[in-house]
Amino acid sequence: MGRMTDAGTSFVSVAVEVKEPLSDSSLGWKLLRTALFEQKKGLILGVLVGVFWAAGKVSVPQLTKMGIDRGIEGRESLWFWSGLVVGAGVIAGIFTSLRRWYAFRESRWIETRLREKIFDHLLHLHVGYHDGMQTGQIMSRASSDLQQLQAFVVMIPITLSNLAMVIAIVVLLISSQPVLALVALSPLPVVTILASRFSRDIHPVVLEVQQEQAQLATVVEESVAGVRVIKGFGAEKVQSDKLLQEADDIWKVSLIAAKIRSRFLPALDLLPSLGLIAVLGIGGHRVINGQMSVGDLVKFNAYITMLIWPLRNLAMTVALGQRASVALMRVNEVLNTPSLITDPVVAFELPNGSQTQPVGQLQFNNVIFGYGDNAPIIDDFNLSIAPGSAVALVGATGSGKSTIVRLLTRFHDVQRGSIKIDGVDIRSLSLNDLRTAVGIVFEETFLFHDSVFDNIAFAQPDASPEVVERAAKLAGAHDFILELPHGYATILGERGYSLSGGQRQRIAIARAIVSDPRILVLDDATSAVDPSKEHEIRQAMATVMKGRTTIVIAHRAGTIALADSVVLLDGGRVVAVGTHEELLLNDERYQNVLAGWQESDDDDTEVDN
């Protein structure tokens, strides 16, 4: 975890990140059963269809045998037998299709369903949980883990119907030629055992190969992203050496994987051949002795061949099942994490405002809060803000400014004390009401892969174009939006049109205007902005703040000056209150905090770049 920086988001997690070893495999299987049970209809249908497929398949060698024995050798009607075989082919063909269809439908559906469930749950999980998790980690729950589940579920109808086929064949063979059957079938269980050993041995190596590939990817990514450093210092050799190392690692591990494959795969091909040889040798002599027919011989041959893949698959399915149950446990870990911030059982409502009774009064009473078990970062914080007035929170790094904002929106709950809006404790408001009442312009603007319009109308998706445009105008964003390739319809976000820091910030302010909050928080809204554009943002900020209770977190004098009064924070409590001028004149601590840039106000400012 990063150091505790007030502005950053890299807090030590308060979330209970359960990191117990996932050894309890019975839990995994139980979860798997529950998940599968919800789709039992489709899965049963898939298996049923598969049984028909098996029947079609199994009948072919039997019919072939009869065709050879009765049609060819016995001179019965050839067309009858050959027609029957073709008929069996029709059945096998149709049910192959259907089996595949149901198997994939059910497996894709379970994946799709659970992914939505995870997503919904994530959106409702308290921010503390997200602080403690890496995005990639959560992503893999909803992507690769679910894929592992999918890969197993698709095998369920297929494996079960394969099993039906295996049983049918074994019964058929044993009942027709018990001795030959036992000898010819004996290598086949070894196929399953070997195949499961194979997937047990190869799996970790395959993972290792992937890991080595990921490490190589990191070297490449860094070399490309850090190309300025590398070129600047002529450090190409350093990176080339790193790459050589990684390429060698991949090579080594891949050859280990190849060795494992070479140990198992040819053997898996060899074993059934032994069965076929037994059929020819033992079966041949039995035919010579008149104990069986040539047709039987062909039938045995065909059946043994038919058993090879199902028996190999069986082992694969078991391995897939194990991986799926582990993956499902990880998925469940997310789904079972309760949100620590929830709606109250009985929700109060905020009073409505009137001419005589303006709303937006905000009060912090003896608030104490610390992240996890760490020492409180907010320690007995008291502050009252009158409706419609603006307060600037100023303090050194780690003084707790941003944490105050996080408490106000209930990203975290206070440990002691209370926060009240218009006299109502925020914990007795519904989360929706609270967050409608409080609007934040974050330090870093997050834009969604949506149009400019949708990004501004984020809080009110059904807002009219007039409302959105008005907000954009107030935020000083309207003009540059019109200059974008598609105006308000321009798609933004990581994969869309990229805006400058100042433009992003103005979109964020427009977003806050549309939400029309009772209390507005501007969390260091100018820090990511090209300094030369800062005054434009300030103007937009001043417009939004008018007549609205506002908390401004700022470093720079120009931004602080927007507020009616300044609150100086130190060690998580208020140490001084006053106007910017008063504090600058009288308060040494305030002077010190501002000293970093205050050295000369010149220093803080830049010419246009």
Binding site: G2, T5, T9, G67, I68, G71, I72, G83, L84, V85, T96, R100, W101, F104, R108, L123, V127, I138, L216, A217, E222, S223, V227, V229, I230, G234, K237, S240, L243, I250, S254, L255, A258, S262, P266, A267, D269, L270, L276, I277, G284, H285, I288, T305, A396, F411, N432, R435, V438, H449, F458, E494, R538, G558, E581, W597, D601, V607, D608, N609
Partner: protein, 600 residues
């Protein structure tokens, strides 16, 4: 499972190109050629073994069983055992050979492509998207591993099997072969059609997977905004849309595959039925033996499976050659800033002179710099100012030979240091004299020490520490529990922005260059860190020639001279006082700054 590789229309190579790429790959795989050839030999043996089984069964039936010749049967069985063992051994050898060849080839490809990438100039990296370059080195090379591990051999063996099986069956009974072939055209047409549709379906799936992952990621990274504005329900709805679109595209590709696999299953069995019908007829006529019919039934699979495999492998081959082609493009790219064969030594100190330099990015006619001439004396501090996109940063980079001047009207300007054209200097000399400190402190994964040492890989531990001391930043890092060995984590996320900048400065200090080229950061640090970075920067600049792309007035005022760049031209040059006096651009910029100051 069907071949999960696809290639988009844009990437697809035609036959001539494909052959060219393959031929070149074969030339490149010089070192592995013997292994490849021996693997091919083993594949040939393996194919013969596959066909030998049913042939031996036929022989056993006709010559042992039907003639009631027990010893002939035994001999056949013994031969069968032998053949199977030979098959097993050759399969093992083939695995080892092809993997050693293939992995060796991929290893060399990785090293070659990366080496070429490293040789490219800054301009190349400005031009190319980072994600694309990374995927060349990862996804594109990995997409070939399937091909080298088994695809290539499978391709060869399917091809051999198809031909040999056809020949064998023709020898056994050409009449029956014709019967068996009846379903073959259907199968071939279906396979080709299926492969084409499924290729597109797979591309569609891939796109939907990408979209869905982005939406997912957006939800997770944007969760604070979503919660702050109470938009969970809306976002869930959005996600559902992309998630269901993905499901639908999956199901579409399944739908395509269902009819195909059903048809394949049917065709195989139907052919068996036909063989029994016609084969029986031929037996009754006395033109075929029952052993032949049996062999046909058993060999049929060897006729149909290769058709399926070949059509599936077709996509793998296509996407692999497309990937190879892209890699060759990188390998063939000529670096536009390259080292000369016989470099001239750079003096330790001297003036940095930009002489009539014009610059345009490759493939772009617009001149970013137009005929700029400027001379920076030894030890002088020059600030470059001007609007965004004016060309200040480009000029700074030219001064460090991250780019070379372009030719314009038959004349190519020069940048020289101590009288030596930078293009004549060796890279190592150049990087020792002139160092660029990028504005964002980029960190590589590894420890703090390793991150600093990247500037000079031969530096000792104490030299790294001295570099930190010289900029007054050692304590900042020794405070960490693990000191300089602290792992900075991905992109230096363990460190604050200010600390990352300190590392960038320490790197420069470690090299101890005569000339520093600085690109000043635009974003602000918190006041405390700002002071430390400021101090480090000042210490670093002492006694060096400094060219700084400046955004802050404080920096500008501390410079000896200021150069104003506008639209690629050096429009003003002089001291602060001189330029204010001039009442030109600089004076206007300075004024604008004064006005944007808050009232006190």
């Amino acid at each position: 499972m069907w071949g999960m590789s696809a290639v988009s229309e844009a990437d697809r190579l035609d036959r001539v190109q494909t052959l060219k790429v393959l031929r070149r790959a074969f030339v490149m795989a010089r070192a592995q050629r013997r292994l490849f050839l021996s693997a091919l030999g083993f594949v040939f043996v393996g194919t013969l073994v596959t066909l030998a089984g049913p042939t031996l069964v036929r022989y056993g039936i006709d010559h042992g069983i039907r003639t009631k010749n027990g010893s002939a049967l035994n001999r056949t069985v013994a031969l069968y055992v032998l053949v199977v063992i030979v098959g097993y051994i050759s399969a093992r050898m083939q695995f080892i050979a092809i993997n050693r060849a293939g992995e060796g080839f991929l290893r060399e490809l990785r090293i070659t492509v990366f080496g070429k990438l490293q040789k490219q100039s800054m301009a190349f990296f400005d031009r190319e998207k980072a994600g694309v370059l990374v995927s060349r080195m990862t996804a594109d090379i990995e997409s070939m591993s399937e091909l080298v591990q088994f695809g290539l051999l499978q391709f060869v063996s399917a091809f051999l099997l198809l031909i040999l099986a056809t020949v064998l069956l023709a020898v056994l009974s050409w009449q029956l072969l014709i019967v068996a072939m009846v379903v073959l055209p259907v199968l071939i047409v279906a396979s080709i059609k299926f492969q084409r549709i499924s290729n597109n379906a797979y591309l569609d799936v891939r796109e939907n997977v990408g979209n869905n992952l982005s939406t997912l990621q957006e939800g997770i990274t944007g969760v604070r905004v979503i919660q702050a504005y109470g938009q969970q329900a809306n976002r869930s709805k959005r996600f559902r849309l992309s998630n269901r679109a993905l499901f639908d595209s999956h199901m579409y590709s399944v739908k395509i595959s269902t009819w195909y696999f059903g048809l394949v299953e049917f065709a195989g069995i139907a052919a068996t039925g036909a063989i029994i019908g016609f084969g029986g007829y031929l037996v009754h006529q006395g033109t075929a033996t029952i052993g032949t019919v049996t062999a046909f039934v058993l060999l049929l699979a060897n006729l149909f499976d290769p058709v399926q495999q070949l059509s599936q492998l077709y996509n793998t081959v296509q996407s692999s050659t497309a990937a190879l082609h892209k890699l060759f493009v990188i390998i063939d790219a000529v670096p536009d800033v390259d080292e000369v064969a016989q470099p001239t030594e750079l003096s330790t100190r001297g003036a940095l002179v930009v002489d009539h330099v014009t610059f345009a990015y490759a493939g772009n006619d617009r001149e970013v710099l137009k005929d700029v001439t400027i001379s920076v004396a030894d030890g002088e501090r020059l600030a470059l100012v001007g609007p965004t996109g004016a060309g200040k940063s480009t000029l700074a980079k030219l001064m460090a030979r991250l780019y070379d001047p372009s030719e314009s009207n038959g004349h190519r300007g020069t940048v020289s240091y101590g009288g030596v054209d930078l293009r004549q200097a060796s890279n190592s000399d150049l990087r020792r004299r002139i160092v660029v400190v990028p504005q964002e402190g980029f960190c590589f994964s590894g420890s703090i020490r390793e991150n600093i040492r990247i500037a000079r890989s031969t530096a000792s531990d104490s030299e790294v520490e001295e570099a930190l001391v010289s900029i007054g930043a050692l304590e900042r890092f020794t405070e960490f529990p693990e000191g300089l060995e602290t792992d900075v984590r991905e992109r230096g996320s363990r460190l604050s922005a200010g600390e990352r900048q300190l590392i960038a400065l320490a790197r420069a200090a470690l090299v101890n260059p005569a000339v520093l080229v600085l690109d000043e950061a635009t974003s602000n640090l918190d006041p405390g860190t700002e002071a430390v970075v400021e101090h480090a920067l000042e210490s670093l600049m002492i006694g060096r020639t400094v060219i700084v792309v400046a955004h802050r007035l404080s920096t500008i005022r501390r410079a000896d001279r200021i150069g104003v760049i506008d639209h690629g031209e050096l429009v003003e040059l002089g001291t602060h006082a001189e330029l204010v006096e001039l009442k030109g651009r600089y004076a206007a910029l300075s004024d604008a700054w004064d006005r944007s100051q808050p009232q006190r």
